[in-house]
């Protein structure tokens, strides 16, 4: 097998969404070819609305060909124009879908290159090794992977520890550690071992691996319609039937007036009325929604989950790492009676000079920041590390020209007390109350001791990430309740919850508690979203409506969740909810727009159809269009062009602002409802002016 390190594939996926243009020329070219290929009736049948348009295109083309010899030039030009624009309507809709898929395809190609020709060294039960292509691996095979080699398939590390470059999957270039046992044992096929050697037990059949699923997802291949999309398709089909009814019965009414209509005109009317705008863009909106998640390095393993994300009403967020930094930081020095706060700060700083834990560093930083203290240069000092027995850490300073030998410590209240008493010191009376009051605030008290003397307490506090309070505020406005999950005691949990501004908290949470909470919320009709990474999160991830597994997590967690965050950033849950909402809003906005459009088309086409026979209907020609034919052609052209015009919106999604439902509705109804009513009047009139200018009468 090859030991040469392959070129790292170019990173396509990790560019931030904002820098990517919506329509990439290279993708557009391929999409154009694809949209012709999609004209195959078998492919069109998936979309009833556009299938009707295709049938209409075929019909009008047939009528054009039938009449081409007998009809006059103007009629032929009219028939040709209508036929051509009906075909464009279908192609534009296909183009939208192909564009959405094309954006994923480039990424899929990159991923496929990773998967291509890996050879695996399989260790047989007797200890011998055979080389076998990765495509021939079975579940349960043990593969040996050394530094520089590609991991041949998804699996768990059963032996050894190694650093792994997962950038092909995650786009993150910093290597990660994978080791046997515990929560960091999962490896993904296609990633590369950088150092050491591991043995991987294969857990996924070739073709069903994470990478395969990812390729299928970003390509949009085998995409299932999501529940709401299915419901919407039913409505669109229903509306299509209604308009079919209206158009089919129009002919007898026309015959009654002795004004039998040409079939081309009736087909044109039908196509203009049926909801082609949303019908043509519906699948593109869905694919683009998934793609927006991929842009943020989240893989939704089902479209259903993306939709559910919009509906989420309860968000379970782990405290540590999501709401807070997860490290306790020094917030305050509280001296006991007779000690100045500066003295306490200085000793606390001394005790932490060599302490590389975040807590230790934050004590030094706070002392410097608050009191301008300068850490002394004492390379001779000896660090006394924290142990589970002493539950204290500190520094021993040997005697020098500044003073005698000095031992400074910081530690938990009872250990410090014991230390002081053993060293012959005393415990100040107010220490107890200070320690208690700090604890009751949810903070951690660290008692500082200078040899025998207890000086006071450093208040260590878990810090809420900046901006979280505002995020929760927005979520609340959107009607989403956040529940903080923490292993802390209720006091600490309550204090952090208050500070972060979450709506509720679950303290001393066990996996069972979490599960019970999800069930309770769901029983009340709420949809629950959560993140998790450990194996013990798996049941809760599976139970939640939106379960986002961290990519660093275990295979079990990734299997259980319905999304995987490749960045392993739990805060992203909030973005996922927003993307879900944006997807639904885009769908609703274009549906409303599409239906509102029809009003203008009636005003264009109905007077035109009967212009010769029923002059009374001229009163309805509010747009004062050029002629009967120019009016019909203009409506058809507008109908086709509006699809193209809305492709960027469908792919990008409607601008989402976190706000209450009433405000969002009002804004969107104004833009897409009223806008949809007015826009076609203006558009059709403009096109009509152009059409008349090029000489259609």
């Amino acid at each position: 097998m090859s030991t040469a390190i392959p070129e790292r594939p170019p990173r396509a996926r990790t560019r931030p969404a904002a820098t990517r243009t919506v329509i990439d020329p290279a993708v557009a070219g391929a999409a154009l070819r694809e949209s012709i290929r999609k004209l195959h009736p078998h492919a069109m049948m998936r979309n009833p609305v556009m299938f009707i348009v295709e049938i209409g295109s075929v019909l009008t083309t047939c009528f054009l060909l039938r009449d081409v010899a007998t009809a006059d030039a103007a009629s032929n030009a009219f028939n040709a124009a209508v036929s051509a624009w009906l075909w464009f309507t279908v192609i534009f809709a296909n183009f939208a879908e192909a564009m959405a898929e094309g954006r994923g395809r480039a990424q899929a190609d990159t991923l496929r290159a990773t998967r291509a020709d890996t050879m695996a060294r399989v260790r047989l039960p007797d200890g011998t090794e055979v080389t076998r292509p990765s495509a021939a691996l079975d579940v349960g095979d043990h593969c040996v992977v050394s530094a520089g080699e590609i991991i041949p398939g998804d699996g768990d590390v059963v032996e050894g520890i190694a650093t792994v470059d997962e950038s092909a999957i995650t786009g993150e270039s910093a290597p990660v550690v994978r080791e046997s046992g515990g929560d960091r044992s999962a490896v993904t096929g296609g990633t590369r071992v950088l150092s050491d050697q591991i043995v991987v037990q294969i857990t996924a059949r070739p073709g069903e691996s994470f990478l395969d699923r990812m390729i299928a997802l970003v390509e949009g291949a085998g995409r299932q319609k999501t529940p709401n999309e299915v419901a919407l398709s039913i409505l669109l089909t229903g509306l299509t039937i209604m308009f079919l009814l209206a158009v089919v019965t129009l002919q007898p009414f026309a015959i009654y007036f002795g004004a039998e209509q040409e079939m081309v005109v009736l087909v044109a009317l039908l196509v203009c009325l049926i909801p082609t705008t949303i019908g043509g863009l519906l699948s593109a909106i869905g694919i683009a929604g998934m793609d927006r998640l991929v842009q943020r390095n989240v893989l939704a393993l089902s479209g259903r989950a993306v939709e559910a994300a919009g509906d989420v009403s309860t968000l379970l967020l782990d405290k540590t790492g999501t709401i807070t930094f997860g490290s306790r930081q020094a917030a305050e020095f509280i001296p006991v009676h007779g000690v100045t706060v500066e003295e306490l700060a200085e000793v606390a700083m001394l005790s932490s000079l060599a302490d590389e834990t975040p807590e230790g560093r934050s004590i030094v930083a706070l002392a410097i920041e608050r009191f301008g203290l300068v850490p002394p240069d004492r390379p001779d000092a000896v660090m006394v590390p924290f142990t589970a027995q002493t539950r204290m850490s500190g520094m021993d300073f040997p005697a020098d020209r500044h003073g005698p030998e000095r031992r400074v410590r910081k530690g938990a209240g009872d250990s410090a007390r014991r230390w002081a008493l053993e060293a012959g010191g005393s415990v100040p009376l107010e220490l107890g109350p200070i320690v208690d009051s700090v604890s009751s605030d949810g903070a951690t008290p660290l008692v500082v001791i200078d040899d025998t003397r207890i000086l006071g307490v450093v208040r260590l506090k878990d810090t809420v990430k900046p901006g979280m309070t505002e995020r929760f505020e927005q979520l609340r406005a959107m009607g989403i309740r956040t529940v903080m999950i923490t292993g802390d005691n209720p006091l600490t949990a309550a204090a952090i919850a208050r500070e972060a501004g979450v709506d509720d908290y679950l303290a001393e949470a066990t996996p069972e508690d979490k599960m019970a909470l999800i069930r309770r919320e769901q029983a009340g009709g709420n949809l629950v979203a959560m993140t998790g990474d450990g194996t013990n999160d798996a049941p809760a991830l599976a139970q939640a409506d939106v379960g986002v597994a961290m990519n660093t997590g275990t295979q079990a967690a990734k299997e259980a969740g319905n999304m995987v965050d490749l960045d392993s950033n739990p805060t992203k849950l909030i973005e996922i909810v927003e993307i879900g909402k944006q997807l639904l809003i885009t769908r609703g906005a274009l549906t409303t727009f599409s239906i509102a459009n029809d009003v203008a088309k009636y005003f264009a086409i109905i007077p035109a159809m009967f212009s010769g026979v029923l002059p009374a209907l001229e009163a309805l020609d509010v747009m004062q269009l050029g002629s009967a034919r120019s009016a019909i052609v203009s409506a058809v052209v507008f109908n086709a062009l509006i699809i193209v015009a809305l492709i960027p919106l469908a792919l990008r999604g409607v601008t989402f602002r976190p706000d209450g439902a009433a405000a969002v509705l009002r804004r969107n109804l104004l833009v897409y409802g009223l806008g949809g009513l007015i826009a076609p009047f203006v558009g059709i009139k403009l096109i009509d002016v152009l059409v008349v200018a090029i000489g259609v009468h």
Binding site: G238, D598, A616, G660, A661
Partner: protein, 577 residues
């Protein structure tokens, strides 16, 4: 508009505003909102109801799923259909036939049986010349009660589907039917009938009375027959139950059905009271007055504006006459306006107000000739029916239709708040959407399908007043009336032909059962669902904005379906002048 017509409209709105809320709360209590064990009025009504349950073998405690509810309704309607059909065919040999009416023809009997079972009360015949007193009393009046009660029961079942969460049953059809009749319709109809009798509506079992007219010599008519019959008892329920089928051919333009201004006013109130009160009951049952208020506002807005169109255009008069220099203005001794087909004692504005009420409610009783309306004056009642009879619609079925439209509005626009659509906490998904589509397609299919076929038939064309836009309006109006179970007519056309009686019979069946069954199924689907709690992210359905949205959906869905047909009918007629 004439002052009296305007005054009548204002008084009507006030009278409804005063009475509808308490009537609605009473309805809610009848259907067991709040109490399940004992209801107000049990002491009076329960013994009667118990006896009925025993006779018919009904276990009132047994609840039904939507399918059981629907099957019960279908079985009940079939039995009623057969009874009315046989009664008409046999009336010649049955008692209470003082005027010796023979059996009705098979097609005619089919049409009438369907018409009264579906709460349409389309009448191809003239009552006093076709039906015996027995048929009128035991056949038609009974159907006036039970078809109205069945419609109300269905609405209540659909509401239960929305209100209940995680169950499977919608109530018991037989119990809802019985209670509606005993506790609502019978007491109200009895009171109204007495009030009408006080105004001069007749109530007897006499045949025709021959009198010598005062102007007999001048008209060459030696004798005039004055009809008798049990009129008040039928008129009261025809108005209360959105039935509309008159005892006489002239319906509420006949002095024995609608003798005075007060009788006219009481009738208008009775037409609108129960459909509106059911919305109030809905508010009580879902526990939100605001929800009910939005639907009431939507209904009132559509009803009042379309009524105003007819009132104003009728009062404005006929443009063709104006061109001839005829003065149609109102003066001290002239009511003015377009008076063709109207009783002078009513006048154009009063007729317009009635037309709005009767077509807004699928009632269908008339106090003037709708075919004689001006183009716009006739367009408004037609539109009223084509909107699907939801403003406020027939008793029960109107509210049912409005709820379906509300679900549709939620589905179309609800996505725009970033959640999958939900109505009162119930998700609207593919299963409901299929049923909603069935619901909204059925009526236009019957209406446009039969109308389109009809205009091509020489026999139909020959029966039209004129073979132009107005002729098309006549065909459209008559099928709109049948497919929406209204029953009023552009009555120049002879609709006693086999073609009309058969196709309109089918249209009435479609308009009744192809709407009720999907609606019940929607209730059955919703009742299984958990309720999503209301949050700031929930689509608000109790705001004026949502009311506007429903109006938009109702108008656009119907508008887009019927615009071409309406454009060729009344709109051409209007602009041709």
């Amino acid at each position: 508009m004439s002052p009296s017509g305007f005054l009548q409209a204002v008084l009507l709105v006030v009278a409804l505003g005063v009475t509808v809320p308490s009537l609605g709360r009473y309805l809610a209590s009848v259907y067991g909102a709040g109490h399940t064990t004992s209801l107000r009025g049990d002491r009076v009504f329960l013994p009667v109801e118990r006896r009925l349950y025993r006779w018919f073998g009904v276990d009132p405690a047994r609840e039904q799923r939507w399918s059981g509810y629907a099957l019960s309704l279908l079985a009940f309607s079939t039995v009623c259909f057969l009874a009315v059909y046989v009664l008409q065919r046999m009336q010649g040999v049955l008692p209470f036939n003082p005027t010796d009416r023979g059996g009705v023809s098979p097609q005619g009997a089919f049409n009438t049986a369907v018409s009264f079972v579906t709460n349409t009360n389309w009448q191809w015949y003239s009552g006093e010349q076709t039906m015996s007193h027995l048929t009128q009393m035991v056949g038609l009046t009974v159907q006036n009660f039970v078809s109205a009660a069945a419609g109300m029961a269905v609405a209540i079942a659909v509401i239960r589907g929305i209100v209940r969460a995680g169950g499977s049953t919608l109530g018991n059809f037989w119990v809802d039917l019985t209670r509606t009749i005993t506790r609502v319709l019978l007491p109200l109809a009895a009171m109204l009938a007495l009030a009408l009798v006080s105004q001069g509506v007749i109530q007897n079992l006499d045949g025709s009375t021959a009198v010598r007219p005062l102007d007999g010599v001048a008209t060459g008519q030696a004798e005039q027959l004055i009809p008798g019959g049990p009129v008040a008892s039928q008129v009261a329920i025809k108005q209360l139950g959105s039935n509309g089928g008159g005892f006489f051919n002239a319906n509420s333009a006949h002095p024995f059905e609608n003798p005075t201004g007060l009788a006219n006013f009481l009738s208008l109130w009775a037409i609108l009271a129960l459909p509106l009160a059911l919305v109030v009951a809905y508010g009580v049952m879902v526990g939100s007055r605001r929800e009910a208020r939005v639907l009431l506002a939507v209904m009132a807005a559509i009803w009042l504006s379309l009524s105003a169109v007819t009132m104003l255009s009728e009062q404005h008069g006929n443009a063709a006459l104006a061109e001839l220099g005829v003065d149609q203005g109102m003066s001290a001794d002239q009511v003015g306006g377009n008076l063709e087909g109207k009783e002078v004692r009513a006048g154009p504005a009063t007729c317009g107000l009635w037309a709005g009420a009767t077509t807004g409610t699928s009632n269908g009783s008339v106090n003037c000739m709708h075919d004689s309306f001006t183009a716009l004056g006739g367009l408004a009642p037609m539109v009223h029916m084509m909107l699907g009879e939801v403003s406020p619609g027939g008793v029960g079925v109107g509210l049912m239709g409005m709820l379906v439209y509300a679900l549709l509005a939620v589905f179309i626009a609800g996505l725009m708040v970033g959640r999958t659509p939900e109505f009162l906490g119930k998700k609207v998904q593919a299963a409901e959407m299929k049923l909603i589509v069935l619901y909204i397609v059925a009526m236009p299919a019957a209406l446009l399908g039969f109308a389109a076929a009809a205009v091509l038939l020489p026999s139909v064309q020959a029966g039209l007043q004129t073979q132009d836009a107005h002729g098309l309006s006549e065909v459209l109006y008559n099928y709109a009336s049948a497919a929406n179970n209204n029953g009023s007519a552009f009555a120049y056309v002879n609709t006693g032909t086999d073609w009309y009686t058969t196709t309109q019979g089918i249209a009435m069946l479609v308009g009744r059962f192809f709407l009720i069954i999907p609606a019940l199924a929607i209730g059955g689907s919703l009742v299984r669902k958990q309720r999503t709690p209301v949050t700031a992210g929930t689509f608000p359905t109790d705001t004026p904005l949502f009311g506007g949205l429903i109006v938009g959906v109702v108008v656009i869905v119907a508008g887009l379906t019927f615009f071409p047909a309406l454009a060729l009918g009344p709109i051409v007629e209007h602009h041709a002048r």
